[in-house]
Symmetry: C2
Subunit: 363 residues, 2 copies
Amino acid sequence: MTASTVIALDAMGGDRAPDIVIDGAAIARERYPKVRFLFFGDESRVKPLLDRHPVLLACSELRHTPDVITGEMKPSLALRQGRNSSMRLAVNAVAEGNAASVVSAGNTGAMLAVAKFVLKTLPGIDRPAIAALVPTMRGETVMLDMGANIECDAENLVQFALMGAIFCRAVLGVNNPLIGLLNIGTEELKGHDEVRTAATILRERPFPGVFQGFIEGNDIPAGTVDVVVTDGFSGNVALKTLEGTARLMNHFLKQTFLSSLPARLGYLLARGAMNKLKMRIDPRYYNGAMFLGLQGVCVKSHGGTDAVGFANAIGVAYDLIDHRFNDRISEELAKQYGLNGLSSQPSDKTQAAIAPPSADGLA
Amino acid sequence: MTASTVIALDAMGGDRAPDIVIDGAAIARERYPKVRFLFFGDESRVKPLLDRHPVLLACSELRHTPDVITGEMKPSLALRQGRNSSMRLAVNAVAEGNAASVVSAGNTGAMLAVAKFVLKTLPGIDRPAIAALVPTMRGETVMLDMGANIECDAENLVQFALMGAIFCRAVLGVNNPLIGLLNIGTEELKGHDEVRTAATILRERPFPGVFQGFIEGNDIPAGTVDVVVTDGFSGNVALKTLEGTARLMNHFLKQTFLSSLPARLGYLLARGAMNKLKMRIDPRYYNGAMFLGLQGVCVKSHGGTDAVGFANAIGVAYDLIDHRFNDRISEELAKQYGLNGLSSQPSDKTQAAIAPPSADGLA
């Protein structure tokens, strides 16, 4: 097993763990034959499930972990008392170089706290962000932050924009991604100070993509931009509203088809196409929120997902590794700092520390 | 004309004004025969349009206004330079007692600034909020604030909850409305300080409705509560995301029906039912955002709406007048203060000011 193809899995995280984790890994194994898995969980529960999938078993290793971080546990408590939990040890595997990424369907707040504590942020990134893909009229859009940071300053937002842009380039293959800052109006005067300052910086700084300015909530599903940048509060509200509205529309549609005999017959005729539509907006296909900005790839699956959804979350982790996402962020940050003359600041300081002070103290 | 049945209309506000305003009023006139209209606008443009609707003309009065507040004008400029604008004079009509409410499809920021300046807030309300109705799985939900206040403190949110609850009782006929505070998780520990403090107050204070605690974005379209309370930034993002997602789903649905011959045939059969679905989510039927908390009823129509949408905005104004919404807010606030012992505070102070100080200064 070389770490570059290993994904650590928290077998105990999620409403239907460990079953969906093992079944999901079995589906992912078929899709990505190169991948190997490192399971962390209660051996007595995980081993019998693994035994059902001989192909998966052959490319997996199981580490017994005595503890579990529950869905209700506070992040601070999870950090203190979860040192021997399946989640923590799976994250540790990435920090120790035994896995290239980790996937968990467990407690989001706990995973974020553990991942931040164990993996640390990438140099040049102050705070990690949770990113998600959303279906839009023009394909799909990456949106961040989805809830890691309730309040963000302008520089945080700029860093999110940078990470989103590189994700688009590296993973989605969009070379010149359009970036939008979520606001409540497209005029320059609107919104918080943080959002307006971030816009000013993004307009001035050389950037891997095209800054489109402010966008509004309706622009998210419209696919106006490739990257939607926002604070974790608004992002979380927007993502969940979008998901809920898709469910509402499905509900209305079902009622519509049941409302009359011709409508029922119509549904029978259109059923094949309707099933394709269902797949297109199936939340399982958009499962797998990414914690971007950490020294290691972390993917958080929805807690209530099934095996198919969990397999898709593993797919997200695979894509991030396969496209060397974190390396590209680091390369871009180095380039950014160079372009901005920021990289010369640390070396200036080093020089200043080494060089003897000049007479006027200005050296 | 008695003011109680008069609605002042800004004939020049909106992308397709004055046409949609006059045509919308003609539709509203049919629905509400008691209503009379006071139009404010450019006489040379409005008069010929009014002449086309004899029934409307008979119950209307037209006041010539030389100026227009454009869509791009900053609120501060609109306040200073818009004194003779159709919008300002229509709002003035409410302040002067010549109309019971005002409807405009013009610049939202300008209308809010003008309405706040001219009408002032109701006693006990610190800031007006923009409220809107959204379609949900359980009917419709009132959501506020939709963008009047980008940042809100806990007391603002509590006042929004109160206004939303009274709106539900007075206008929607929901006697015991469920109130939810929008957050990014339902746990008590999540969210901004403001949201958590507001929740504490709402749990403790006697309230016209049932406080359900925190809700998330997906709860809005699910209709989990009757009143969604949030700050103007998140509320605006949520509402526009909801509208955009409904459009996205319609777009997907159209593509689905065009994707194969059976699907096309199916659509033909289901068409009648589909048209009903269309009506159910038609944004025109949810047109008319209310500025709640002012000493006068103000309704803001979507700027890009048509005559049907504008007629619905007039309907919203009519409902607010007809159900004596503002009187009920004032009554409830008086009751609230009484229940909380807050009303006794001012009188205590008065007494303290009159009574001679006792020797130990504790009186």
